[in-house]
Amino acid sequence: MENVIKYKNVDWTLPLLFSFDAYIIAMSKVAKELKIKNPITFAYGMMPTKWTGGRISKYRTQDKKAIEKHLKKVIEAGTTPLFTFSKYFIEKEDLNDEFANWLLDFGYEHNCQFIISSDLLYDHIKSKYPDAKCIASVLKFVFELEKVLETGETEFYNSLIDKYERIVLRPEYSRRRLLKHLNDIKDLSKVEVLINQVCINNCKEAIREHSNIPISDYDENAKSQVGVFCPFEAYRRKNGLEKAFLVGNCYEKSEVDAMVENGVRHLKLQGRNYEKNSIFGMIGGHLFDSVGAYSEISSYMLDMINNDKKILKDLIITPRKN
């Protein structure tokens, strides 16, 4: 039965929390029934808060009871929630935000982990909970790229490996240089590789985009700037997709295989802004050996998600209004 899993020893970090959580629940039932390890080790996401970074969750609520029930259900399914508190420009007064701190408290009590990029937030979390598990977001290295390159990228990651539970490597590095530096990485078990980022190498718009996204909820000017210009698309239109692949950050299958064969254990997928339809297939195609038994599994999961009310019970499912 283990043959249905594509990469046997990989812990997946998936864009499902407060996004497509029904998939997590359905997967846990499948894993239980097939007596296999739940391949969704971690699921990340977060609704709008003063600390939220990356893509914002579809679910916009501050209903604590609802959030508690939702998170407990995900945890019971055997998946660890990762809160994307990855906003880089966090101000000191943001650290006092009541809702964000409530989430931190609840998350810590329930062994959730925290994806962060701000050193200020890191210090705040560790001062409250010294053994809280923090993950260095890829955004940290995007915003601090100058420092990263001055230090040397491998050295920079090594300098943080003891501080963080895991480090999400920049795809520019992991895709092109990690395999050459495997022996130089202090602890390979603590690196996480993002394999399906569709951006261009060293995107010049990344900082602007990820400065605007976290505040686009309440800042109309920021909102109008999000996604306006995509350098990857511009490159592709000019040079064609085949050339664009070479300068993009998305891995080819053979490259993912090589990562796993060389001992990388944490793989991550992006996609919180994808339609549910597309995420379903995209995730399944990465987790499972997609030909054969997976056809049965995916039909089974889809049937559960669409027809089994118990799957959706206690999950927040009302999306944001705008």
Partner: protein
């Protein structure tokens, strides 16, 4: 670009009408990203006719409207360089039905546009060949399942291929056959293999096409789950008891068949929603990991369960 799951394979995709949105969107994406279209054709029963009476038709347009637009649709496939293969696969057909006007109009399209047809009835085959001698006729899966006596093995398919140009193999035959027997068989290139039939192996229901409960099918389809029998042997079965017990071909079997010379594969003609169909494309035809996500796309204007609601949150179905 490493995007195809299997090299040098011709795929026949089901759902000329019901899967058209996904197929056209995929072709549009491939075109936009300048990715070469793989070797695909699209097959299906198109619409109910006198030669395939029990075709289930579930679509937003009425049957009457589709009888008008079907030819535009078929032309669109041709313009996109996708061969539409029309299925007229009732096993028993009264010869009086051969004069049915609409069926003959569809046949005429196939005969004049370098298309193919899938047939179960030998008399219909003779009729088709009398009108269009060069039209390629494929013996249907239904015919193989009803007639294929496993004791005959390859000799059954030898006899079929004396009359038909190509044949869709009984999925039970594919799963059970000794691949060594197929080595060097000179008609492999005329055989089609269904890669994803998920019926139970040797299920007695498989032959009972005439006893399909089509009302039950329609009801189950509306729920988003396809089952063509209320007494389907899979009903109520745990997932763990189904793995390895169905006619699904795994990757090793498909690669072994390709090595033997098989290059015509099909996805089964079953009603599944857009999500599962798109997933099958990116499991069997395209590599699911890697570059394919640049052109993965699903029609998103309407909720894919068929409830008709706007995609933005009114329905939790996917």
């Amino acid at each position: 670009m490493d995007i195809l799951k299997y090299e040098n394979v011709n795929w026949s995709l089901p759902g000329l009408i019901r899967n058209k949105d996904v197929i056209f969107l995929l072709l549009n994406s491939l075109s936009m990203y300048e990715v070469p279209v793989p070797n695909i054709s699209c097959y299906g029963t198109a619409l109910p006719t006198a030669w395939n009476k029990n075709t289930i038709f579930l679509n937003e347009l009425s049957l009457e409207r589709y009888e008008i637009v079907i030819f535009e649709l078929l032309h669109r496939y041709i313009s996109l360089k996708i061969t539409p293969i029309l299925k007229f696969d009732d096993y028993k057909i009264d010869k009086k039905c051969f004069s049915d006007v609409f069926a003959n109009d569809l046949l005429n399209f196939a005969g004049t546009h370098n298309s193919k047809v899938i047939i179960s009835n030998d008399d219909l085959l003779d009729y088709v060949k009398s009108k269009y001698p060069n039209l390629k006729c494929i013996a249907s899966e239904k015919k193989s399942i009803i007639e294929d006596n496993k004791k005959q093995g390859l000799s059954y398919y030898d006899s079929v291929l004396k009359k038909y140009d190509e044949v869709i193999l009984n999925p039970n035959f594919v799963v059970d056959c000794d691949l060594k027997e197929l080595k060097g068989y000179d008609k492999i290139s005329k055989m089609h293999v269904i890669a994803d039939n998920n019926c139970i192996k040797n299920c007695p229901n498989l032959k009972n096409f005439d006893k399909c409960d089509y009302d039950f099918e329609k009801k189950s389809l509306k729920k988003g789950v396809f089952q063509n029998f209320a007494n389907c042997k899979k009903r109520g079965k745990k997932l763990s008891s189904l793995i390895g017990k169905t006619l699904l071909l795994d990757d090793k079997k498909i690669r072994d068949l390709i090595e033997l010379g098989f290059n015509n594969f099909m996805l089964q003609d079953k009603h599944i929603n857009n999500v599962l169909f798109e997933e099958k494309l990116f499991s069997y035809v395209f590599e699911s990991v890697g570059y394919s996500q640049y052109f993965r796309a699903l029609p998103s204007e309407k909720c894919s369960c068929g409830c008709g609601s706007d995609k933005n949150g009114k329905c939790n179905q996917i």
